[in-house]
C-alpha cells in the first residue's frame, strides 16, 4: 500500500468520524434545546388557553385549541384592555419596575464589590486576626448557606430598626448579600486563570495596582463577569421569600404576584402563565444582549 493510499484511507476514516461527530453534536444540541424549550413553550401557550385546554393537555394552538387572550386580559395587557384603566395592570407595571430596579441594582453592586474582593483574594495575601485568604473566601460563601426562612424574624427586626422595610434600597442590600458569594467565587476562578505576569509587566511599566486591575485584568475577565452578572440577575429577579416578607406597598416585586395566582380558589393557569411569560421576557432579552460578552478574547489576545 502506498503512502498516498494510506493517507487517503485515514482521511476517509477521519471524515466519517468527523461527520459522525457533527451529527452527534447537533443531535445532542437539538435534544437539549427541546428539553429546555418545551416547558417554556407550554408556559407561553398556556397564557392563551382557557381552562379545559389546560386540563386536557392540548399542545398545538389553532389545531387543538383556539388561542384566547384570557390570561393577558386578566392582567389588562390584551389588545382589548390595553387602553382601558386596569388596577391589575398598574399593579403589574409597578411591581415590574421595582423588580428591575432591585435586581439590576443588586447585581451591579455585587459585581463591583465582588470582583474587587475576588481580585484582592487571588492576588494578595491578607490576614484579619486569624482569618487568611481562604477563610475570608469561605466566610463569604457561608453567608449563602442558611435557609432564608429562618432569617425572617432577624431581618424583620433589623430592617424595622433601620427604616429599610418596604424600600427598594433595603431589597437591593439584601439581594447583594445573597449573590455576593456567587460573584466572588466565580470571579476568583476567573482571576486565577489569568497569568500574573501580565500585571507584573504592567506594574513595571509604571501602572499602579488599581491601574493594572482596571486596564489589564478587567477586560480579560469580562466573560466571567458577564456570567456572574447573569446568574446574579436571575436569582434576584426570581427571589420570592424576602420580597414577600420585607415589602408591602412601595417596593413590592413581581414574584409575589405570580404566587398569588394560586390559592383557595384553585389556580389561574392562564394568568400565571402570562405573568411567568412576562417575567421571563426581560431576562431572555438580557441574555441575548449579554450573550456576546460571554465569548472570550475581545482584548485578551491583544494584550499578549
Amino acid at each position: 500500500m502506498s503512502a498516498i493510499e494510506e493517507r487517503e484511507v485515514i482521511g476517509a476514516q477521519s471524515r466519517t468520524a468527523f461527520v459522525a461527530g457533527r451529527v452527534f453534536i447537533y443531535a445532542a444540541l437539538f435534544l437539549w434545546a427541546f428539553v429546555c424549550l418545551f416547558p417554556l413553550y407550554w408556559t407561553v401557550t398556556t397564557s392563551f388557553k382557557t381552562a379545559p385546554n389546560v386540563m386536557q393537555g392540548h399542545i398545538v394552538p389553532w389545531l387543538q385549541f383556539s388561542p384566547d387572550w384570557r390570561g393577558w386580559r386578566s392582567l389588562g395587557l390584551s389588545p382589548d384592555t390595553i387602553f382601558q384603566t386596569s388596577t391589575v395592570r398598574e399593579e403589574f407595571l409597578k411591581r415590574f419596575f421595582n423588580s428591575v430596579i432591585a435586581s439590576v441594582g443588586a447585581s451591579a453592586l455585587a459585581i463591583v464589590i465582588g470582583s474587587l474582593a475576588a481580585y484582592g483574594l487571588t492576588r494578595f495575601r491578607y490576614r484579619f486576626f486569624w482569618f487568611r485568604n481562604e477563610d475570608i473566601s469561605f466566610f463569604f460563601l457561608s453567608q449563602l448557606i442558611l435557609p432564608p426562612v429562618v432569617l425572617a424574624l432577624p431581618f424583620l427586626v433589623l430592617y424595622k430598626e433601620f427604616g429599610l422595610l418596604d424600600t427598594r434600597i433595603g431589597l437591593i442590600l439584601l439581594y447583594t448579600l445573597m449573590v455576593l458569594p456567587i460573584v466572588i467565587w466565580i470571579m476568583r476562578d476567573q482571576f486565577n486563570s489569568i497569568p500574573v505576569e501580565l500585571e507584573e509587566a504592567a506594574l513595571v511599566d509604571g501602572l499602579s495596582v488599581w491601574g493594572a486591575f482596571f486596564r489589564i485584568v478587567l477586560p480579560i475577565a469580562l466573560p466571567g463577569m458577564v456570567a456572574a452578572f447573569i446568574l446574579a440577575l436571575v436569582l434576584c429577579w426570581n427571589e420570592y421569600f424576602f420580597a414577600a416578607l420585607l415589602t408591602s406597598t412601595d417596593a413590592k416585586t413581581l414574584p409575589v404576584m405570580l404566587a398569588s395566582q394560586t390559592g383557595s380558589q384553585g389556580i389561574n393557569w392562564w394568568a400565571m402563565a402570562a405573568l411567568a411569560t412576562a417575567a421571563i421576557t426581560p431576562l431572555a432579552v438580557i441574555g441575548i444582549v449579554l450573550e456576546r460578552y460571554l465569548i472570550k478574547g475581545m482584548t485578551a489576545g491583544a494584550v499578549k
Binding site: T85, S248, S260, Q265, A271
Partner: protein, 554 residues
C-alpha cells in the same frame, strides 16, 4: 320616596296629603327604631331596586366582571357611607389595607369597591397584597416583631385568637354595627364568632362551610343502578346520606366508566396531600359526624383539659375510612391536595363525590374550568349512623349530622393602632363597613369574588332568579349552604391561637399514615395527638383551655 311609587299610591286613591303624612310617619318610625341612619331610611322598594340593579352588573353569563364593574357596584352601594360621612371628610388620611391577592380577586376587588369611597371621602388607601401561602406567616411575624404596618386587614376567623386575643384589633363602634345590619348574618356567624371577651371586632364579608357535591349523572345512570342492585348493594342507588354509603358507593364505582367523560369512574375524592393546614378540614368532614356529639359543643379537644380527641375512636374510624377506599382513587392521588381534587379532578370530570367550600357550586356553573356544571348536585355533608360519645366512651347508635364550618370565612378587621386618632378610626371603620355592606355583599355572593353567601338576605331565591340564575340550581346549591349554616349540630372551628399549627402538624402525620409508615391507624393518630399536646403546652395550656371554651360559647 320614588316618583313611581308616589304616583301609584295617588292612583290607588290616596290624596296627596295623606301620602305625605304617611311618608313622614314612615321616616319617624325608622328614626325611632334605632336605625335612623340615612341609608336605612330609604324605602324598601328603593333598596330592592338597587339590589336588582347591581345584580345586572355585568349580568349573569356576560363574562367575568372587570375593574369598571367593581367600581360601578362600589359607587352604587355608597349610600351607607354617605349617610354619616361628609364629602371630603377624610381628606389627608392614608390607610394601609392588608389582604390577599387570590387570583387577582380579593384585594383587587376591594380596590375597585373602595375607589368611589376614596373619591367621596378624600382618604387614600395603600394596598398590601399577599399570596395565600404567605398570609399566616406574614401576619404572625408582623405581630411578633412589632411591625404591624397596616390599619385594616382582611382576616379569617381562625386568626382572631392571635389578633384579638392580643389586643391588636379595634373594637367595632356602634354606628358600624347598625350600618352593616349584623342581625342579617346567618346563625353561626353571630356571636361568639367575631367577638372576643364580649367585644365585637369583625365585619364578616364571607361565610364558610363545607358541603357535599356529587355527580347527579352517576345516580341517574340506569346501568349503575342495575349493577348496584345486582351486586347486592344496600338500599337505593341514590346520593349518599352517610359516610358508610359513600364508602360503599366508592368501592362499587371502581372499575366503572364515567358516563360523562368515558374515562375511569371514581367515587369520593379524598385529598391525601396537605395544603398548608387546610387539608385537615377534609378529614374533619369525615370525622365530624362520628365525633361531634349533639350534647357536646367540643369535638377536637376536651374543653376542660385541651386533651386532643384526634386519636379517639371517631377520628380513627374516619382515617380508616380514608385508607379503605384509597385504592379507588385516581392515580397519583397521594399527591393530590384539595385544590387538585376540586379544580383539576372534580370540576374537570374526574371523580363522583367531593367535599368543598360552597363556592365550588357557583364555580361548577360559571367557571370555564368546569365541565360538570349541568350534572352536579349538592347536599350538606353526609352523616353517620353512630356517634362517639366522649363522655361515656361509647358509640351512640343514632343518626348524626355535623356539617363542618371550615374556616368561618373572611372578615374585615380594623387594627387598634388607629384608635388614637378619631379621624383615622372613623375612616378605617367606614371603609371596612363599606366592604361589609348588605347590598355590596349580595353582589359578592353572586359573582366571582372568592366570597360566599353569609347573610340570611342572600338566600332569597327570587332575587337570584331575577338576576338570571336557574331556580332549581340555585335552590340546590344555596340550600345546601343554608342548611349547613343553620344546622343545630354544626361543627364549629375552634378560634384558638395557633389553630393552623395543629392542622399543619396533623397533615404531616397524616401523610405518613396514608403512606403506610405506621403500623396502625391508631398509632398514627396517637402521634398526631402527641404533637398537639406539645403545641398546647408550648402556647400555654391554661390559656388555650380558656380561649377554647370562649370560642365555643361555653
Amino acid at each position: 320616596m320614588k316618583v313611581a311609587i308616589y304616583n301609584q299610591l295617588v292612583r290607588a286613591g290616596a290624596t296627596r296629603r295623606e301620602v305625605l303624612r304617611g311618608a313622614a310617619s314612615v321616616a319617624a318610625l325608622a328614626a325611632t327604631s334605632g336605625m335612623g341612619l340615612g341609608a336605612l331610611t330609604r324605602s324598601a322598594a328603593a333598596q330592592a331596586d338597587l339590589r336588582a340593579q347591581i345584580l345586572q352588573i355585568p349580568g349573569v353569563g356576560k363574562g367575568s366582571p372587570t375593574d369598571a364593574d367593581w367600581q360601578k357596584v362600589g359607587e352604587l352601594c355608597l349610600a351607607g357611607t354617605k349617610s354619616n360621612v361628609q364629602q371630603g371628610e377624610f381628606a389627608g388620611v392614608e390607610l394601609t389595607f392588608m389582604g390577599l391577592n387570590n387570583q387577582n380577586l380579593h384585594n383587587f376587588l376591594f380596590r375597585g369597591f373602595l375607589k368611589p369611597w376614596e373619591a367621596y371621602t378624600g382618604a387614600k388607601i395603600n394596598w398590601i397584597d399577599l399570596a395565600q401561602a404567605d398570609y399566616n406567616a406574614r401576619l404572625q411575624q408582623s405581630i411578633a416583631t412589632g411591625t404591624v404596618d397596616f390599619d385594616v386587614i382582611e382576616m379569617g376567623a381562625p386568626f382572631e385568637g392571635d389578633v384579638c386575643g392580643k389586643g391588636l384589633a379595634s373594637e367595632m363602634p356602634d354606628w358600624v354595627k347598625q350600618l352593616i345590619d349584623m342581625d342579617d348574618y346567618v346563625t353561626y356567624l353571630k356571636e361568639p364568632v367575631g367577638t372576643w371577651d364580649g367585644k365585637t371586632y369583625r365585619i364578616s364579608i364571607d361565610g364558610d362551610c363545607h358541603t357535599f357535591a356529587y355527580r347527579k349523572d352517576y345516580y341517574e345512570n340506569a346501568e349503575f343502578a342495575a349493577a348496584w342492585k345486582d351486586g347486592g348493594g344496600e338500599g337505593e342507588w341514590a346520593p349518599p346520606k352517610t359516610w358508610a354509603q359513600v364508602q360503599a358507593h366508592s368501592k362499587f364505582l371502581k372499575g366503572k366508566k364515567d358516563p360523562l367523560t368515558g374515562l375511569d369512574a371514581h367515587g369520593f375524592l379524598d385529598p391525601l396531600k396537605g395544603w398548608g393546614g387546610f387539608g385537615f378540614y377534609f378529614l374533619e368532614d369525615r370525622a365530624a359526624p362520628y365525633a361531634k356529639h349533639p350534647d357536646d359543643k367540643a369535638w377536637l379537644f376536651d374543653a376542660d383539659t385541651m386533651k386532643p380527641r384526634v386519636n379517639n375512636p371517631a377520628f380513627v374510624k374516619a382515617i380508616q375510612d380514608v385508607m379503605d377506599i384509597m385504592d379507588t382513587q385516581p392515580a397519583d392521588q397521594i399527591n393530590a391536595d384539595p385544590g387538585t381534587t376540586a379544580f383539576q379532578q372534580f370540576l374537570a370530570g374526574t371523580g363522583g363525590m367531593l367535599t368543598w367550600w360552597g363556592d365550588v357550586g357557583s364555580m361548577a356553573r360559571t367557571s370555564d374550568t368546569s365541565v360538570v356544571g349541568d350534572v352536579v348536585g349538592f347536599s350538606i355533608l353526609p352523616g353517620a349512623d353512630e356517634v362517639y360519645n366522649s363522655k361515656t366512651g361509647a358509640w351512640d347508635k343514632t343518626f348524626n349530622e355535623a356539617p363542618n364550618m371550615a374556616y368561618i370565612g373572611w372578615g374585615v378587621y380594623v387594627m387598634s393602632r388607629v384608635d388614637s386618632d378619631e379621624k383615622r378610626k372613623k375612616a378605617a371603620w367606614s371603609a371596612a363597613a363599606h366592604l361589609g355592606g348588605k347590598d355590596l355583599s349580595l353582589w359578592m355572593a353572586a359573582y366571582p369574588s372568592g366570597f360566599q353567601p353569609y347573610r340570611n338576605s342572600h338566600f332569597d331565591y327570587a332575587e337570584w332568579e331575577q338576576a338570571g340564575y336557574d331556580r332549581a340550581y340555585i335552590e340546590d346549591y344555596l340550600g345546601s349552604n343554608a342548611d349547613s349554616y343553620n344546622h343545630p349540630n354544626a361543627a364549629i372551628e375552634p378560634r384558638i391561637p395557633g389553630i393552623f399549627q395543629y392542622y399543619s402538624v396533623a397533615e404531616d402525620e397524616l401523610a405518613k399514615i396514608y403512606a403506610g409508615q405506621y403500623k396502625s391507624v391508631q398509632e398514627g393518630a396517637d402521634a398526631i395527638a402527641a404533637a398537639w399536646e406539645k403545641i398546647t403546652d408550648q402556647i400555654g395550656r391554661d390559656n388555650q383551655v380558656k380561649l377554647y371554651k370562649a370560642s365555643l360559647g361555653m
